[in-house]
């Protein structure tokens, strides 16, 4: 069962990540460097890094798995992942960069002038980050099991350890370099085998038809393809992207607001190029194996596809390339998330608690290292305990929580001068409670039937995000006295081109 080539590819990707991480240790000295790479990253490299970080297990394995099992309607997932950046571009890209904030919590504190809301946002960032880390670690488990037969907990543990070492060694500069490289590794790893497999399919005289009408006879039914589910998923992905903790950090590394916009345009192109390929694996997989072999999961269809069309070494080579790419996806997204979560645990928790227990005279990076370990250990333990629900679905729920919390905060914070601290707090609380309860109920399997309630809980964004917007606006209008005193100056800074301010 073990495929030595695939295993070698996975080991190579892990070692390369670690090597570049420790190289970063030598070039990142100051703390600001550690967090945001000194803010000197060009749009193309930054866009590669954003895309490299963003293309996660859900994109590399999950999209093909979903399309394989449920048909063409699942293409709304990659469309939503991409369109999220269009929404981010037109609503917040430049103003957010001009705010000078590099985390969501920084933005909330700066715009609303409240320490309390900062704390609330920090807690939410950690929650969403953990939520999003779970499918990355599950994906690693599925991929490693597919190529070695090892139990699923091994893959998640390997990814956690590599990410912990890389992040605590190098910080953000190395991560920018690693992420930019990871995008090109991933796009090569998914496109090259796709072209080769398509060529094999064309040359095969007995090739099965790739006609979707015959491949997915049942397409158009099932819980994921209803009109409500489609709209709710799209809304979650479009609004959720801007609220993901590891996405916003990258915008701070743009030199100014104009570059932040230009970077986002490149990101849209890079993501679109990547998403052309996962459906190829789904269609080929369907054509050659309408039923999966015993023990295989639909999320593993990308890694399985070469073996359906080819034998021996050539199949193993392609499979190895795909396994390496998949691990690049887990490592890059997980390190971006771990960095965001660890940054908050370090700043808001460790720096307050550590001196109390260990005295003032602490080694330089003890806090961030401890925070990284804790930040990864929690989701890892959860993956050991939870049965996986499906990578793209779990990721979808994390987007729904982000869409119901940070999307209203950011959109209204950037465009609406009458937003008050009370309104923003109320919106964050209502959005996070409703969306996470729905997500929790779905993940724990309380909603396996086909009822409307189950659908509303499995796809909460269509009601929870508008609810959060309405609550934020209504409470703000009811508390006009609580408009932060410097709102006008802050708004001016968010929207004024930098060239006027220097």
């Amino acid at each position: 069962m073990t495929q030595p080539l695939s295993l070698a590819a996975i080991v190579a990707v892990c070692v390369a990540t670690l090597a570049i991480g420790s190289y970063g240790l030598r070039i990142s000295r100051a703390t600001s460097d550690f967090y945001v790479a000194g803010r000197q990253v060009t749009p193309w490299r930054n866009a590669s890094a954003i895309s490299g970080e963003y293309l996660s297990a859900a994109s590399f394995l999950g999209v093909a798995g979903l399309v394989y099992s449920r048909g063409i309607d699942m293409l709304w997932f990659p469309i939503g992942y991409t369109m999220g950046y269009l929404v981010l571009l037109v609503l917040i890209a430049a103003p957010l960069r001009r705010s000078g904030a590099y985390t969501l919590a920084d933005f909330a504190e700066l715009r609303l002038e409240s320490r309390r809301i900062r704390g609330l946002c920090s807690a939410l960032v950690v929650g969403i980050g953990w939520f999003y880390l779970i499918p990355q670690l599950q994906g690693a488990g599925i991929a490693l099991r597919q190529v070695t037969g090892w139990p699923t907990w091994v893959g998640g543990t390997v990814v956690s350890v590599v990410v912990a070492l890389a992040v605590s060694a190098g910080g953000m500069r190395s991560i920018t370099l690693v992420q930019a490289m990871q995008y090109w590794v991933k796009v090569t790893a998914i496109s090259l085998p796709a072209f080769i497999l398509l060529a094999v399919w064309r040359a095969d005289p007995a090739a099965p038809s790739l006609d979707p009408a015959t491949l997915w006879v049942s397409a158009g039914t099932g819980p994921g393809s209803g009109l409500y589910a489609t709209y709710s998923t799209l809304l979650a992905l479009c609004l959720g992207t801007m609220g993901l903790p590891h996405v916003l950090v990258r915008f701070y590394t743009n030199p100014d607001g104009r570059d932040a916009r230009r970077t986002t345009v490149v990101v849209l192109g890079l993501l679109g190029m990547f998403y052309l390929f996962p459906p190829v694996y789904a269609a080929l997989g369907r054509a050659y194996a309408s039923r999966l072999p015993e023990g295989a999961r639909t999320d593993g269809i990308v890694l399985l596809a070469p073996h359906l069309l080819l034998d021996g070494t050539s199949a193993n080579l392609l499979s190895a390339l795909l396994a390496g790419g998949a691990f690049a996806a887990f490592l890059s997204t997980a390190s971006g998330l771990a960095m965001s979560v660890a940054g908050i645990l370090d700043q808001d928790v460790a720096r307050r608690l550590l001196p109390r227990f260990a005295g003032e005279d602490l080694p330089d990076r003890l806090g961030i290292r401890l925070a990284t370990v804790v930040g990864l250990a929690v989701p890892l333990v959860v993956t050991w305990l939870l049965a996986p629900v499906g990578l793209a679905s779990t990721v979808g729920l994390a987007f729904a929580v982000a869409a119901s919390t940070f999307a209203p905060l950011l959109a209204l914070g950037v465009w609406w001068p009458r937003l008050t601290t009370a309104g923003a707090t109320a919106g964050l609380i209502v959005g996070s409670v409703t969306a996470s309860l729905a997500a929790g109920a779905t993940l724990l399997g309380f909603t396996s039937d086909d009822s409307w309630l189950a659908l509303l809980l499995a796809q909460p964004a269509a009601w929870s995000a508008p609810l959060a917007f309405v609550v934020t606006i209504a409470v703000s209008l009811l508390t006009p006295g609580a408009i932060p005193p410097h709102t006008r100056a802050t708004m001016a800074r968010l929207h004024t081109p930098e060239s006027l301010l220097t």
Binding site: L91, R258, V265, L276, A492, H495, T496, L500
Partner: protein, 99 residues
């Protein structure tokens, strides 16, 4: 003049409010067009399921639209927005510099 923008003078407020309104109008119209174009597809499929069978040669149109065409369309929309938004800012800078 630049200081008036950040230091909350009446005049600065008026200018910034004007820029913000123009930018918000632009953003809202891009979002609206995108939402209408994208949102129409699932609705059309629900009303006319036979659209799924529409093809250009051997390839179903739906695959071409959802798997291919949306991505360049998104890039074109994003480029249009970025240019329009930079133009609004350039006009704003001109006005401020003349004042």
């Amino acid at each position: 003049m630049a200081e008036e923008l950040t230091e909350q003078t009446r005049l600065g407020d008026v200018y910034v409010a004007g820029l913000m309104r123009a930018q918000l109008r632009l953003s809202a119209s891009v979002l609206l067009v995108a939402a209408l174009l994208l949102g129409a597809v699932p609705l059309a499929l629900a009303i006319w399921p036979e659209l799924r069978l529409l093809r250009v040669g051997p390839i179903p149109v739906l695959w071409l639209v959802l798997g291919l065409a949306v991505y360049p369309a998104a890039v074109i929309g994003a480029r249009y927005y970025t240019r329009a938004s930079e133009n609004l800012e350039a006009t704003f800078v001109d006005v401020i510099d003349k004042t």
